[in-house]
């Protein structure tokens, strides 16, 4: 049994009464759920490592542009003098690695791969985070309402989820991107493309989150604290957002960390169809797609964006696993 009071030291944990009786002077604090989770999380070295990497990634993405100018890199500058015109592959070994271009250059254009990885990091992360936030907000709100009110409301929302899940997402993505390419919402160019991607990916992935939240709410709404709250005359929204939602934070956070890597990969597949980020703007997905044509003759080119995506996905997954373990003791 894990009680909400916990002290370090296995002996103490085994016999709490004895400890209480024995050392009166020791100041015993009650700790919040958050503190307990943090303690648990800190013990999970793998998850901490994942978290550190995630923080580093976010920093890199946020400082991408300053970093580029600091290193004197330009993601869109051509260096075709470094390309063999017949094979269009970089001259030299390991994809044209040199001090000027530490990760080598692209085939065909000779653009610096390091610069493009840096530039692509913020695009990929912004799209993935934005889409995750969007699908979480919609999914959580609708899932809560469906689970709490039940009956017809639940039936309607659940069918809506089914409809969205059955929606041919890629076809829709292509159609909407093609129609919105010219400019919409007073935006054009890169901001518009990012917004469209966030919308397409986020708006159609909410039912997954919605179902999880609905299931949890169904279980929670029968609990005493909800009954008590209702008995004291709390309104529906109050119960939903003040009583139920805080109890759902754990699954939501966990699921979000797992959704972010999925969305990074989704951005990649949309770029492949030409409806994502438009060249010459760098994005990890776009780089990976270009590299596919060269993986046998210039594996280095595929390795770099591949590793970037791999590390990001792995870090988020490890972080998510650790968070789940920390926040939900039953899952141990």
């Amino acid at each position: 049994m894990t009680a909400p009071i916990e002290t370090t030291g296995s002996q103490a944990e085994a016999q709490p009464e004895a400890v209480l009786a024995g050392v009166k002077s020791q100041n015993i604090e009650g700790r919040s759920l958050g503190q307990i989770a943090w303690t648990r999380f800190k013990r999970d070295k793998v998850a901490v490592a994942g978290g550190v990497v995630v923080v580093l990634l976010i920093l890199t993405a946020a400082l991408s542009r300053p970093l580029q100018s600091l290193l004197g890199l330009d993601p869109n500058a051509f260096h075709q003098d470094l390309i063999d015109p017949n094979t269009t592959l970089p001259k030299g070994d390991f994809g044209g690695m040199s001090w000027d271009h530490p990760l080598g250059v692209e085939p065909k254009f000779g653009r610096d791969i390091l610069a493009r990885i840096l530039e692509g990091s913020w695009v990929s992360l912004v799209v993935a985070f934005g889409a995750t936030v969007l699908s979480n907000v919609i999914g959580t709100v609708l899932g809560l309402i469906a689970g709490y009110y039940g009956g017809r409301v639940d039936a309607v929302i659940s069918r809506l989820m089914d409809t969205f899940l059955a929606f041919p997402l890629l076809l829709f993505a292509i159609a909407i991107s093609a129609t919105l390419q010219g400019g919409a919402f007073g935006l054009e160019g890169l901001p518009l493309h990012i917004l469209v991607l966030i919308f397409v990916i986020g708006f159609f992935n909410w039912p997954y989150m919605g179902r999880i939240v609905r299931g949890q709410t169904l279980a929670l709404r029968e609990r005493e604290f909800v009954d008590a709250s209702r008995g004291m005359g709390a309104s529906g929204p109050y119960i939903l957002f003040k009583e139920l939602l805080p109890n759902l934070v754990a699954p939501i956070i966990v699921y979000s960390t797992l959704l972010i890597p999925t969305n990074i990969l989704f951005e990649a597949s949309l770029s492949f169809l030409g409806v994502g980020i438009q060249p010459p703007q760098a994005s990890w997905g776009g780089m990976l797609n270009q590299a596919v044509d060269f993986f046998e003759v210039d594996p280095q080119y595929m390795l770099v964006p591949g590793l970037a995506i791999f590390i990001t996905v792995l870090a988020f997954n490890l972080l998510g696993d650790g968070l789940r373990d920390a926040l939900d003791p039953r899952s141990r």
């Binding site: 051509f78 075709q80 063999d84 269009t88 254009f109 093609a178 054009e188 030409g274 210039d298």
Partner: protein, 584 residues
């Protein structure tokens, strides 16, 4: 050992080969006992052999639009379908530009024109039989032209030039709707072996038009409309043994085919197999392993194979790097500001670094740098460069001058369209964006799927104008290799259409229109070709098209394949008629 056997066979057969003018060059190659070299099939017949037997295997990464000779618009099907469907005339199976020569196939000779080029008569060979033993008659040819050109609701995939040029062609509804059984009055069949076409206006390229497989005979009793592709009645040297939709096709010798009625076909292999939907990388590997003889689509090897082949001297000898009869270009849209001003168009002409574009597309192997609308392997080509820059690398200073003349000294913003599933095109557009940025023109890319590029997007002038697409990536190959066949659809103002438009610049210049309209009625060939060169120069003066590269393909020539010629008439593809194999 195998090589010497081929050399002997080549020596034995060279006398009997009709492929005149080719055996001599081939002998030169064999003197030193050396292997075929790179590009050999564009200059001579490689591995000439009269040996029979074996299976020739074709492979393709996709599926053809149709095997029905009356329902296809791909050069490789025009080429391949001749194995089982004989058009009136065809192109000579000869290397390189020699392949552009028209030779009689089902007809005895070229068309006899009268009435100043408005009436064309062809005499059929006698004794040509279908695979079921019945004789081919001129009525079958008439029927084939009618079904392929006028029944657009049933067979819609091929071009309909006959409907455009034949007298009364706009009113006739096609043989499936016409129950009278008389057909179109302007195609006359006075006897079993004579067919006469009557046109609205003189059309001197008509012989080229009848090289289309649409003139290959189809027996009316056996026609099943769109399903005819599954049960094609052969008039050629091979017939269908099996047809598996989207998977594979097997052809075997047609026993009713008679060499006496056919000077072109030799019927060397026992069997011809076409495997469909094979991954391009797999096709390339199978070609090198010898399990596949030819890539049916003839678009060349993929990027990785290209690098592997070019880095290996032995393998490089087995490649043919040929012109594909096409120009890769950027069309400047005259309906979008500021490209309505010729000075702004000229600025783009000078600004683009063509070497960067060429490298982005895959280097010189994928195309030579272009300066004219007509590619060098199309009749009428004349070399000139209206906007020369140092090393073709662009000239920002000159471009700026023209920008200033256009009253846009600081550049402007525009869009550039490309086909999303054509990586080469997207890459070329990326290079153009980079070039234009240097003179302040900020071009943003818009990608559309190639299947709808002309029907819904770039080929819809109203759409392009509304979206502000000033630059459109384009690739154009001729339906037949003359100046008219090439230029008319992309430059004649009359060719602009509301959808499916190929005159992407919406270029409507009275002088150019007049030159084109008059040239095609002019019986003097050299005058016609001079007119095409004139059109080319006028177009470049108006700067509506930025020629980027003359498209080239890198084909892998299987060392097992015999009688290999890469013909300009088929966009550089290997001529299918007499391909054989040394693999038994």
């Amino acid at each position: 050992m195998r090589r010497s056997a081929i050399a002997v066979a080549a020596a034995l057969s060279s006398a009997s080969l009709l492929l005149a003018g080719c055996s001599k060059a081939d002998d030169n190659g064999d003197d030193g006992g050396s292997k075929a070299t790179a590009d050999a099939a564009t200059k001579s017949v490689v591995n000439a052999s009269a040996e029979k037997g074996g299976t020739v295997t074709y492979a393709m990464s996709d599926v053809p639009d149709s095997f029905d000779p009356g329902n296809t618009y791909y050069a490789y099907m025009y080429n391949f379908s001749r194995l089982y469907a004989r058009p009136l005339l065809t192109f000579k199976p000869a290397p390189g530009e020699k392949g552009n020569e028209i030779v009689p196939d089902l007809a005895q000779g070229k068309g006899q024109s009268s009435d100043g080029g408005k009436t064309w008569t062809y005499k059929l060979r006698q004794g040509v039989k279908y695979e079921d033993g019945t004789e081919v008659t001129s009525a079958d040819v008439k029927y084939a032209v009618e079904r392929s050109n006028f029944a657009r609701d049933v067979l819609s995939l091929g071009p309909n030039y006959f409907a455009q040029f034949l007298d009364g062609g706009d009113k006739y509804k096609g043989p499936y709707k016409d129950k009278s059984g008389k057909g179109l009055a302007s195609i006359e069949t006075p006897d079993k072996y004579t067919i006469t076409f009557k046109l609205k206006q003189p059309f001197t390229d008509f012989d080229y038009l009848v090289t289309a497989p649409q003139t290959a005979p189809v027996p009316k009793a056996k026609d099943t409309g769109v399903d005819y592709t599954k049960k094609i009645v052969s008039s050629g040297s091979y017939k269908f043994q099996s047809y598996e939709e989207g998977k594979s096709v097997t052809l075997v010798r047609n026993p009713e085919w008679n060499a006496k009625t056919d000077p072109l076909r030799k019927q060397y292999p026992d069997k011809i197999v076409v495997n469909l939907k094979v991954n391009q990388a797999t096709i390339d590997k199978d070609l090198m392993a010898g399990t596949t003889t030819v890539d049916l689509a003839g678009r060349g090897v993929d990027t990785q194979t290209q690098a592997q082949l070019l880095n290996n001297k032995d393998q490089k000898a087995n490649t043919d790097n040929t012109y594909g009869g096409r120009l890769v270009y950027a069309a400047l849209n005259t309906t979008v500001k500021p490209f309505d001003n010729v000075e702004c168009r000229k600025a783009v002409q000078y600004a683009i670094d063509k070497v960067a574009v060429q490298t982005a597309q895959g280097g010189p192997v994928r195309g030579d740098i272009a300066s004219t609308v007509l590619p060098p392997d199309v009749i009428g080509y004349q070399k000139f460069d209206a906007y020369p820059t140092q090393g073709n690398k662009g000239d920002a200073a000159k471009a700026k001058e023209h920008l200033t003349a256009c009253k846009q000294p600081n550049g402007f913003k525009t869009y550039i369209s490309a086909r999303s599933d054509r990586q080469q095109e997207v890459d070329a557009a990326t290079a153009i964006i980079d070039s234009l940025k240097k003179i302040g023109i900020n071009a943003e890319m818009k990608q559309y799927p190639s299947g709808k590029y002309f029907t819904d997007y770039a080929g819809v002038p109203a759409f392009a104008k509304k979206q502000g697409i000033g630059i459109m990536m384009m690739q154009w190959g001729a339906d037949w290799p003359t100046g008219y066949g090439y230029l008319n659809q992309i430059l004649n103002g009359k060719a602009i259409s509301a959808s499916g438009n190929t005159n992407l610049s919406s270029f409507d210049n009275a002088e150019v229109n007049k030159l084109l309209d008059e040239a095609i009625q002019n019986p003097d060939e050299s005058a016609r070709n001079a007119a095409y060169a004139e059109v080319d120069k006028k177009t470049m003066d108006e700067a509506v098209i930025v020629p980027l590269t003359y498209f080239k393909v890198l084909l892998y020539r299987s060392p097992n394949a015999t009688n290999v010629v890469s013909s300009a008439a088929w966009s550089g593809q290997y001529d299918a008629l007499n391909l054989g194999t040394t693999k038994k």
